[in-house]
Symmetry: D2
Subunit: 159 residues, 4 copies
Amino acid sequence: MPSSYYEEVKRPMSSASAPLDAAIVARVRTSFARQGAMATFGAELADVATGHVAIALPIEPRLSQQDGFLHAGVVVAALDSACGYAALTLMLDEAEVLTVELKVNLLAPASGESLVAEGEVVRAGRTLTVCRGDAYAEQGAERMHVATMLATMVRRRAG
Amino acid sequence: MPSSYYEEVKRPMSSASAPLDAAIVARVRTSFARQGAMATFGAELADVATGHVAIALPIEPRLSQQDGFLHAGVVVAALDSACGYAALTLMLDEAEVLTVELKVNLLAPASGESLVAEGEVVRAGRTLTVCRGDAYAEQGAERMHVATMLATMVRRRAG
Amino acid sequence: MPSSYYEEVKRPMSSASAPLDAAIVARVRTSFARQGAMATFGAELADVATGHVAIALPIEPRLSQQDGFLHAGVVVAALDSACGYAALTLMLDEAEVLTVELKVNLLAPASGESLVAEGEVVRAGRTLTVCRGDAYAEQGAERMHVATMLATMVRRRAG
Amino acid sequence: MPSSYYEEVKRPMSSASAPLDAAIVARVRTSFARQGAMATFGAELADVATGHVAIALPIEPRLSQQDGFLHAGVVVAALDSACGYAALTLMLDEAEVLTVELKVNLLAPASGESLVAEGEVVRAGRTLTVCRGDAYAEQGAERMHVATMLATMVRRRAG
């Protein structure tokens, strides 16, 4: 198979099975803490693993669209950050991640107590990383799949 | 040309040239006022015309990503609402608009004083409407194109 | 959870575990046989199951892009048909499926002997169905993931 | 405005107003001639200008979907090549263009005599170029807008 602009990496098997370097976790947490939007949304990093990051936020009227459901833009924000940080976990040296583009299908209105957005690396390369995201609205023990994303991230040298 | 799930409408020539029924403008403004997320973002309806809506919001640290630029999710939220309301202006009777899916390319980091998101109908149908959105970061007299969106909206009966 | 324009269906567990009504399989095969493009590409229906369809086609110079790899448009064509027919398997009465929109990330150049495009339903509704597709280039026992798609299909009454 | 992974270029005003270096036109034509898929589709380069390329192909039963309309994959193939070559016209040295991802909305079934796919650069950078494509079905003097695309291209060093 000829060389590509993507460099092969193994796709992470599961978030649980992948121990992660403490320095990388710290880098993700530091960057996340600097995202003003995440603080404004009340969002938290719920999981950081190799190639996988989960972000949770409360569903509140101040983040709603016109019918009281979570605004699509807030769902996208959580998915975008989850995907970006999932990409960052696979970058070994100092780097930053920017979103090139993203596409999301909204599968159901998001209501309930909280939204969990999970980002996962589909293909990581030296320059570009493709991620997939899935968002779930949670209410007690119920969990509904409300959105699915496909996104392209680019690595930018830090500094 | 055979019938399609899209019903032909003329594409709006420009926002300026299209006078709009007052009832439709009122419907857009009422719905917008119910979007908690737009209030939280400090967003305002900057323009409502036939098949075209503009939304403006201030670029502030509380809406940032890790480098201080406006978070992609906030850019998407503004574009999504602008596109949804642009679609709503072409629906004559009681209806609501939901986002089926959206895709956005981020062209440059958004910094400056404010973001203006413009949504425009590309093709309107009885059920589905395709919209295009473009977002600009403004600083004084400068205007930079920071994102472009392509989105599909669906009409849902109100109530 | 409030009603949505999507109607819940269970996501198919796996292609193997889902027996399918013979009439639906016949409907898919009849429609596929009418796709001139699939015949021109030498494509075949490799699998038809509930909510899942696979299409295979030979990788040949006459379908290449400039470097000899399979043209992205041909990869998309196979994924699009696989997704459309996956959606059709979940429609019980006479219906046709049209593609509203699709988004694909190309993960690696497609070379080798054949391409297998798999389409799967993510969410099926009365009007709209969201599908995911993945394409693999195969060479002997090797299989490479070359593309991933997210697409929206709409049901149109037949006739 | 801080540096970005995109490098600013002026957006081409129109295809007519932009004379193009003969070497670049030759590079596009040579590459196009090597696309086996374009030959198989009977496609031709209809226009090559700075940041803008048009490709035309006949609408024929051998390229159809099940209802006799042009297969979405063929529409996408033409748009993808048009966008890729539009990006190539803005690359001054030896380079190749690969498609990272594309998203297309199908606006109407494509029937008639021929399809014209136009690709245009929205933002060009050193590594990534964002393009927009629009496809039209033509029948005599009638022209119908049948698809719109948003795509990301990446530059790869030739050789």
